[in-house]
């Protein structure tokens, strides 16, 4: 299994850069959207809510790709693809952590009691990047 390098991991985990995630619709066509993203324990993670399109698509076909691009230098990016695992465990804490990372707030401000948050973990099967040469 390919691993993220420490620099690729830090690029994703330590910057408020959004990720473009692509999942597969039931007909197999690609669906792309923007997410808050993190990297920990060798996986790339994001958070969504149960019932949303990408969550439904991933349940049907877990294959996903995610790309994080430096907003001020598009020639630095990391792209990861692999199977996604979904879990509601820790998902509320994760969305708060992401709110801190992206908004500087301790709690996710748009929490909806009707909605169940879910964490998506992408295990890298393929990692590409640019702009990390020393």
């Amino acid at each position: 299994m390919p691993q993220l390098t420490a620099k690729q991991r830090a690029f994703i985990a330590e910057n408020p850069f959004v990720g473009a995630v692509t999942t597969l619709r039931p007909d197999g066509s690609p669906h792309s959207t923007i997410v808050w993203v993190d990297a920990e324990n060798g996986v790339v993670t994001f958070n969504t809510a149960v019932g949303r399109a990408k969550e439904r698509y991933l349940r049907q076909d877990p294959r996903a790709a995610i790309m994080v691009v430096h907003p001020e230098n598009a020639y630095q990016w990391v792209s990861v693809s692999g199977p996604a695992e979904l879990t509601t465990e820790g998902a509320d804490a994760q969305i708060d952590h992401l709110a801190k990372k992206y908004l500087g707030q301790d709690e996710y401000p748009w929490r909806n009691p009707e909605e169940q948050r879910i964490t998506v973990k992408i295990r890298p099967e393929k990692v590409d990047s640019a702009g990390f040469d020393e």
Binding site: P16, T22, L24, S29, I34, I66, P71
Partner: protein, 129 residues
């Protein structure tokens, strides 16, 4: 068919980057980053023959293109559609894109055959636009 609003089209006409999702031979998604353009009817990008992206699109033309405002990650537009590839006008088009993104003309690489990819939007979703 779907159309872009003027504001969405502007995002493509400004020097913002786009991620393009294509399908690998096994049906899994592949993401790359491209320079992007809009001709009033189609989303356009440019690639070179032999790369993974055009090979994927020739086999399965279904594509998603997501354009993100480089100054505001909460403004983006995602277009899905069917890609058409052609070499016609591709050298002029990459030169136009190079000027848009780098301010300088394109330096052709020996032996490289450029391709224009045209995507007529079938569905558009957007955030902050």
């Amino acid at each position: 068919m779907a159309a872009l609003t003027d504001e969405q089209a502007r995002l493509l006409l400004e020097p913002n980057f786009a991620t393009v999702g294509t399908l690998n031979p096994d049906g899994s998604p592949q993401l790359t980053i491209v320079w992007i353009d809009w001709d009033g009817e189609h989303v356009l990008f440019n690639t070179a023959a032999g790369r993974a992206k055009p090979r994927n699109l020739e086999r399965d033309p279904r594509v998603s293109v997501l354009v993100l405002d480089s100054e505001d990650g909460y403004r983006w537009v995602a277009v899905r559609g069917t890609a058409e590839l052609t070499t016609e006008g591709a050298d002029e088009h990459i030169d136009k894109l190079a000027r848009k993104y780098t301010g300088e003309g394109w330096q052709p690489k020996p032996g490289e055959r450029r391709l224009v990819v045209r995507v007529r939007p079938e569905h558009v979703s957007a955030y902050g636009l």
